[in-house]
Symmetry: D2
Subunit: 342 residues, 4 copies
């Protein structure tokens, strides 16, 4: 019998992407689709690429409209998930694609989001050591942020193998869909095309504590993270360029072996052959992660680079992957490692 | 038992796209992959987005390497398909994604391609009246050109219903993948981004006789076609803006009714609701076609616009759709109407 | 003594572009800069590319702030120019970059803009026969729309020489800056990149009556215009693909001769050599116009194509060129025909 | 009397850009234009954006064709400049936009370029302490690489003021024109649009030793540089995100003061107001540099970011600025700080 799924926040980019994936998922039946300001409109107007759902009308996001589903995906603005989740009952699998339940440390939440911490749910990054076990059978899942997904998958094998010192320096470029669908002047096509620009420089980005949490958990010590995000002139994709001082005795071979081991059985992560580098175009629309790692002897640093699709593996694909694990389905069900290129 | 498929020309854009689709096709097993200058290289190097095939090595395009398959897709330069097809035997389904077997009129072929005409195969545009019957059980299929696909689907319902006069004026914008993967200076990213430019102006484009053939066949009289293609700063997509003088008595309602009727049962074509216009982004990576039609009373013209993905519905998706029909599979098998957006 | 210039609406795209050009104009001194919602902000925040003006603060758009200048450029929303112009006095040169004073026919204005017609000012397209004489010494100038600039310059020589019949079919692609700086969802970078889409199809675009006015004036008979604008994934540029049935006896040679004659002495228009086609990239940031024309014997049509930068020659460059004429300066003063490419 | 200038390598991107700037330079007369494979072609075909030079024909790059000029710009492939320069005589100002004469250390040159070191010329980055004096009256100038320009201007004030430790980590994004005009598959528009990808990872990029040379010279100790370049989907622009461990006692205020002092009198460098970040779009086509600096207390690092146009300030604009100094002209002559945006 099909798993019945609702999506709250179906008019935005995360909501649209999870619907795109669920439409291709063989075990799922799409139920209620809700929105707030867009309630009453057809999905054909709001998400014209989702042809099979074109005639569906958005309901309001209420407990009633979301009732009666096995799974509810929340694609809501930060801070709104807890109130909705409470009304859904403990037997419903609630998957929050927002930030509300990612952080373990309440003080970090309050510093970066300025509101009371709602709690911590099992973390939907199955590749992270220990994460799968926590997801199996869980009824609550916090989907990672897009940048933390890219950065954690680039760096954690080095920390897990104790090959890097705990001072990571990260510069990541993201496509504009990461900034959402609410129209703001600096996100206009006229402004974005032809331009690269940083933001949240100097530690201000809300995804920084999540990266620290992930990497520190693996490293067994606190990893300091210098994170600079940049906005790139493309709709989708994250390229994360990460480096850290190498631990004593690291060699190119030991690094590569650590990554090969970490990702040997991962269905979505590909450690590229030596000499080939990740490209966001190669993972466009897919749940795949391309990873490459190098040792720079001149500066004795580990350099690890990953490419993901911020909306797929970075948001909705990671969410579906985690749903599959929680429900006991094949982890890859409904997901692909094939990008749309060129 | 799975249908065994080979792809000749697997390193180019059409070859890569047909592989992308075949990987998602439940009835197909991918066999030989061949190339010429790239023989011996891995697909992981040549098509890094096709992760599941990353370790496959390209063979040379020979009768031997292509032998033993149920279906062979040819993604070869114009003029090379006939020689390969001859060696494949009459029981193999050969699907030519090149131009060689599209035109019925040998003189047209010789004028536009400058070589002897190889023949005419059943035409792989199932939506065109009469085409499906010719495809069923066929062992040879000529896949339409990308522009003729977009233009024919935009205009044929008007001609079929005798609502337009036989003088079509067409301006189409194509993404750069339509120009192929061979590196040429004017196709460099530096040249293409930020630029729109026409080419083949004044009747010179090789797709013009194919449009005339399709539209004339439906109209029952020769349709003159003024066709201007333009290169747009995007990797994929065709937007075809087509118009023609309206026949006597045409109204907005009669036009819309003709299109609604033509596309009522078509799984891949969506006549958009009034007021909504096709966008290439909405069909990115999908086999869907968005169509809209209007009547402009001030100039008494029919204006019909379509958007397709030039590599999917315009090439490899149309090829797979036709393969499905030829093999007696569900026509939509392995294909989607869901675009990757934003 | 320098000409003292004010710009009303300095925070938008047209206002920013006219400032970019005026900063390079040797005879001009930039005076008041005004805005409405942005009054009080620095130009460094609003137009960060205009470094020399970074510390200037926007005043409110009032008669007082605009007083005391020789020239006032109005870059205001449609319908607001008349009220401001009235307060500026008859000795000030007022150059309206909005639509308010372009149309001669009040009924056309009311049909397309839904408000009372404000009047008609000398038309700032110097290349149009008769336009220069009306601009010399004028104290009021209506700057043409961006599409009418591109289309008129592509087609008028054919009509002036009676080589085309009065039924023009035009499809134009515009960069997104033509849609302005007010943030709207469909103009987001995420939506725009990778997408071509039409709008205002079927005669609805407000620039259509202006094209009819220009071409009819030259043709000596009413020219019917079918105009379809499309939005292209680039910040700037218009490519206008225009065609019309050829008059009796037209040849490629007679067409080319007519265009060569029309543009022999024009400093900003370049009729390209045969075989070369206009590209928006070539005129990026410049006041140049690239034009090419062809005769298609198979359909007996004239095909004329132009490329401009919609913000430069299509708006602010045309405005400065007209200002130069009105003030008796060298027409090319402060303007360039050199594009920024690649 | 005008300075007579020749450009060797006028068909490429650096050659085209220096011509774009020289056309706007009031003291210069453009003489010979030379190429190799393109000799005999018109510039209108090769550089269609340079309308005033459209009818000029490229000569071959020989001593004869370059004779009789006051200044010769070399825009040649690496390794070819020395042979040409030798033939030009000691009284001609030779400005090499290639890499041949940038490095002081012959071993570095040989390691990264694999050929004998040609020598070292005065370095054309006037903002670098000591550089202006060496340029005044010089007859030989080595124009810096585009990445070293961006990186040096982002970081040197921190090193000059002893506010950063000598372990710089740099990730830079470049537009595709930095890769030149020779057509290669990975530079096709189809590949580039929508994609971010790194290259030369792990210390392999040839610009690394030049950065080390510049920063070490200012720091008074050897600065280790970890440099990762990435290719961004835009034609022009470099965004350099640079960081280094802060020296003891650094504060946000001391950092800002050091940058404010370093750039107080620089005509082309703008230290942005606090809270505003560099964007490549803002310097498009201009010789301006946008710089911003921050101190991240959580990781005790200095983060400095710059944006330049790689072809203008990063190549041809830096070359013209240095030419002005060498000739005793106003340093800003013919150059602008006004970008073409949006």
């Amino acid at each position: 019998m099909a798993v019945r799924v609702a999506v709250a926040g179906a008019s935005g980019y995360a909501g649209g992407e999870v619907l795109r994936l669920l439409l291709a998922h063989p075990e799922v039946e799409i139920g209620a689709l809700t929105g707030n300001s867009n309630a009453g409109q057809t999905l054909g107007t709001l998400q014209p690429h989702l042809l099979p759902l074109a005639d569906r009308v958005l309901a309001e996001t209420t407990a009633d409209s979301l009732a009666g589903h096995d799974v509810v995906f929340l694609a809501l603005p930060h801070g709104q998930s807890a109130a909705v989740a409470e009304q859904l009952g403990p037997d419903v699998l609630v998957i929050d694609m927002g930030a509300d339940f990612r952080l373990k440390n309440a003080a970090d939440w309050e510093t970066f989001y300025g509101s009371p911490h709602a709690g911590t749910w099992p973390y939907g990054l199955p590749e992270l050591p220990g994460a799968r076990a926590a997801l199996e059978g869980s009824k609550r899942i916090a989907v990672p942020g897009c940048y933390p997904t890219a950065v954690t998958l680039a760096l954690f094998p080095a920390y897990a193998a104790r090959l890097a010192r705990p001072e990571a320096v990260i510069v990541a470029a993201s496509g504009t869909s990461g900034a959402g669908k609410a129209p703001k002047p600096h996100l206009l096509g006229s402004e974005v095309m032809g331009s690269m620009t940083p933001y949240g420089v100097g530690g201000g980005h809300r995804h920084t504590p999540e990266m620290i949490q992930n990497l520190s958990g693996v490293a067994g010590e606190r990893v300091a993270v210098s994170f600079t995000p940049t906005l790139a002139p493309m709709p989708r994709g994250i390229l994360a360029t990460c480096s850290a001082p190498a631990a004593e005795g690291v060699t190119a071979e030991s690094l590569r072996a650590a990554y090969a081991k970490a990702y040997a059985d991962e269905p979505f992560v590909r450690l590229l052959p030596e000499g080939q580098w990740p490209a966001t175009a190669s993972v466009y629309g897919s749940n795949a992660v391309q990873v490459q790692v190098a040792y720079d002897p001149a500066v004795h640093r580990v350099i690890a680079i990953s490419a993901i699709d911020n909306l797929t593996k970075g948001t909705a694909g990671g969410a579906v992957q985690s749903m599959n694990i929680a429900l006991g389905l094949d982890e890859t069900c409904g997901l692909t490692t094939i990008g749309v290129a060129p």
